[in-house]
């Protein structure tokens, strides 16, 4: 006898459930967590290092570094800057998932952290599909990548809470059309919070740091 069984469930259900467990661990310790996504070379690690340099001293930060290969270049840089960092090697996988992040969270002492930055694998497609338990998604788009990225990768622009436009110091040397870029973003994610910065020079970081401080204060209260 053949029979139809209704399910109606999100395909990523089991990942979503693990992400909820991660979120609870973070909420219990009042840690605000940000999932940092970008394409390779957009400046994720430099952006995080500049954020560390600009943060007030009383704001304690931890970093989870996702990489596809067993190299600790990024996490070494973070630790050299004086912040606790855990490296995740995805073994070639193109994204972090809630299970990997859960294991990394367990290695951090959440009591000593107010803010957790999770640096996802450099990729504009796959990371968008996996909830990690974070409170905010940010995307770093750098000007040399081109102004057409929202048009080519709409999915990742849909699910973000903050957009960082990085490498604005290189604008005079590129064909990046800011109006065209912003129109694409606006169609997909109306009113999106956006900060234009240079992670290299530190330009534009004041507003971003103020946003972090506001969110961390909310999470603590």
């Amino acid at each position: 006898m053949k029979q139809r069984v209704e399910i109606v469930k999100r395909i990523m259900d089991s990942n979503d459930q693990l992400a909820q467990q991660n979120r609870k661990k973070l909420d219990d310790k009042k840690v605000f967590a940000i999932n940092v996504m970008a394409s390779p070379g957009a400046g994720k690690t430099t952006f995080i290092l500049q954020t560390i340099a600009k943060l007030p001293e009383n704001l304690r930060m931890g970093v989870i570094e996702g990489d596809t290969a067993p190299v600790t270049i990024d996490s070494d840089k973070i630790m050299a800057a004086g912040m606790p960092a855990v490296q995740i090697n995805t073994g070639g996988d193109c994204h972090l998932d809630a299970n990997m992040v859960g294991l990394a969270i367990d290695e951090l002492d959440l009591e000593d952290i107010d803010l957790l930055l999770i640096e996802n694998v450099g990729n504009l497609i796959c990371p968008a599909g996996f909830a990690l338990g974070h409170h905010a998604n940010i995307l770093i788009a750098s000007t040399p990548e081109g102004d057409d990225k929202p048009y080519k990768y709409p999915n990742i622009y849909r699910g973000i809470d903050v957009l960082i436009i990085n490498k604005i110091d290189l604008l005079p040397y590129t064909d990046f059309d800011m109006d065209y870029f912003r129109a694409g973003v606006e169609m997909l994610n109306p009113g999106l919070k956006t900060f234009a910065v240079s992670a290299k020079t530190g330009e534009g970081f004041e507003d971003w740091i103020a946003w972090i401080q506001e969110k961390v204060a909310e999470a603590r209260s």
Binding site: K2, Q3, I7, S14, N15, C126, F130, R158, L188
Partner: protein, 124 residues
């Protein structure tokens, strides 16, 4: 290429539901996937054929109900589908839009063959 992780998630949900419903075999799986979800159907079916081996769902066919991405203009109310390129409202050229479909990513239902009830079973 996150299709493997997606396929594993589908298999997990399907097998759990099949067991709960005393299935002997899963024959069909119906999925609804919006155009804004980056998934390649053939790739999912390919992984499925590998990882479902040895389970009651190993011969199941995956059916992808593809949903177009549809925008509604907040200025003039025009609804239009996303065709390849992301474009402003075709009526009034506004970029103030809502996306009303295209983000679906779910398992709708499965079709199963039930185990035959044991006819020799006595009732006392």
């Amino acid at each position: 290429m996150h299709e493997l992780a997606v396929t594993q998630s589908i298999l997990e949900i399907v097998l759990k539901s099949a067991m709960e419903n005393d299935a002997e075999e899963v024959t069909d799986i119906n999925l609804t996937i919006g155009a804004l979800s980056s998934i390649i159907d053939d790739s999912v079916q390919f992984y499925w054929d590998q990882i479902s081996q040895g389970t009651i769902a190993q011969n199941a066919r995956l059916h992808f109900n593809r949903v177009l991405a549809t925008f509604r203009c907040r200025q003039c109310g025009t609804e239009y589908d996303l065709n390849e390129e992301l474009t402003p409202c075709p009526t009034c050229n506004s970029i103030n839009l809502d996306i009303i479909s295209g983000e679906e990513f779910q398992i709708d239902n499965i079709e199963i063959k039930k185990k035959e009830a044991d006819k020799n079973e006595t009732t006392c």
